[in-house]
Subunit: 210 residues, 2 copies
DNA sequence: GCGCTAGCTTAACGGCGTTAAGCCAACGGA
DNA sequence: TCCGTTGGCTTAACGCCGTTAAGCTAGCGC
């Protein structure tokens, strides 16, 4: 029964070639360049052929995003298991900003996508698993900081604080992605400098005095 | 020569009807519902007719956004001339979040628009004028806080701090607009509660100790 | 009364996501 | 060895999109 395996393997290879083509397309040519026809052209298929491998365009994009979600979580893991949860939070913040600025097209799809009627169907083993879920990784650090009584006592909701911290860095990344610094009426400061200030200010605002 | 005036007036009226139709369309049916054909249908014109009044779709949207920028600045003005610049910053933050959550479709066009190859061509009298430019209004408050030595001494760049504060609230609004709280694997906290925490934390982080 | 022009029309182009229908090579069973 | 089935692709097409080209006409100034 080597035939079934070979067929399945070829199917997965084609599927992967579609994903690779899509990724290369929007990494190199940006957000709007990704269309089913352009993807198909790159792998020398017809556009409808893609529908034999993905339900629709959203499913394809979702799969790319899931890969990038894992990549982001991997970046977080790579910053190491810093013992001090507050220092870990600071590094998570900078790593997040770095990721967003380095991969603006992916970032758009991941966190700024406009038309998502259905949910991305995140696999269950990913949710809440700090090794694959970047948000869970942040939340874990926040929980530890709360448990160690590093934050002011009224700041006890790990979920809310995690979302606040995420929003803080997301705000910087997304603002800089859409309002590209050139020729605007605002004197834009460097995103990384603003991010550093944000992280300094928020951690200081969270911590107990003294 | 009443004819020229009448023609000009009629032209402006048609122009305004186009703008009104576009606004109503994306306020009531959302972001993606705004197309030249849908707009034209609403005012019982053909789609190409719009091009006699606007260079292209982007110019039309830009004009809508400029109106909303002024509306946002007006909201800021309406929160009153609070003497304490720090308290004013706090209220600006909450007003901003309120504006974004109340008008998500406009907010998308204003601060999350994806394809803007050319610049929005902001009129010169708007730039930097706190009465029409919301960013300038925020920056003014930040400048006053710095001048009154309310912030920690190393925080002296009004531009950077303004952008940081803007990013903080923008992060909350934009995150809640794309990741609509329902059916997601994250236990979303209410946007206003998160915003309140954000404002508390950032102002506390900015202020001098004691 | 006539020519010009402003303001609209219809037709069309090339793009998009997606669906329908059909073709064909490769397979499993007889 | 032949045959029916099936999987994986094709082309054609639908209805949407922004935009351009060409043309029609009402109303203006002369």
């Amino acid at each position: 029964m080597g035939v079934a395996e070979r067929r399945e393997r070829e199917r997965q290879e084609t599927r992967q070639r579609i994903l690779d083509a899509a990724r290369e397309l929007f990494v190199r040519e940006g957000y709007e360049a990704v269309s089913m026809r352009r993807i198909a052209e790159r792998i020398e298929y017809s556009a409808p052929a893609i529908y034999h491998h993905f339900r629709d365009k959203e499913a394809l994009i979702t799969e790319l995003c899931l890969h990038d979600f894992r990549a982001l979580a991997a970046v977080f893991l790579r910053i190491g298991r810093v013992d001090d949860p507050v220092e870990r939070i600071r590094r998570i913040g900078m790593a997040y900003v770095e990721f967003g600025l380095e991969h603006p097209s992916q970032y758009r799809f991941m966190f700024m996508a406009e038309g998502r009627p259905a949910e991305p169907q995140v696999p269950d083993d990913m949710k809440g698993n700090p090794e694959q879920d970047a948000y869970a990784f942040l939340r874990l650090a926040v929980r530890e900081a709360i448990e160690q009584e590093r934050f002011r006592p009224e700041l006890a909701d790990a979920e809310l604080i995690s979302q606040m911290l995420w929003a803080a860095v997301h705000g910087i990344v997304s603002l800089h992605i859409v309002h590209h610094p050139k020729e605007d009426w605002i004197e834009w400061r460097a995103a990384r400098a603003t991010a550093q200030a944000m992280i300094d200010v928020t951690t200081r605002g969270l911590l107990r005095a003294g």
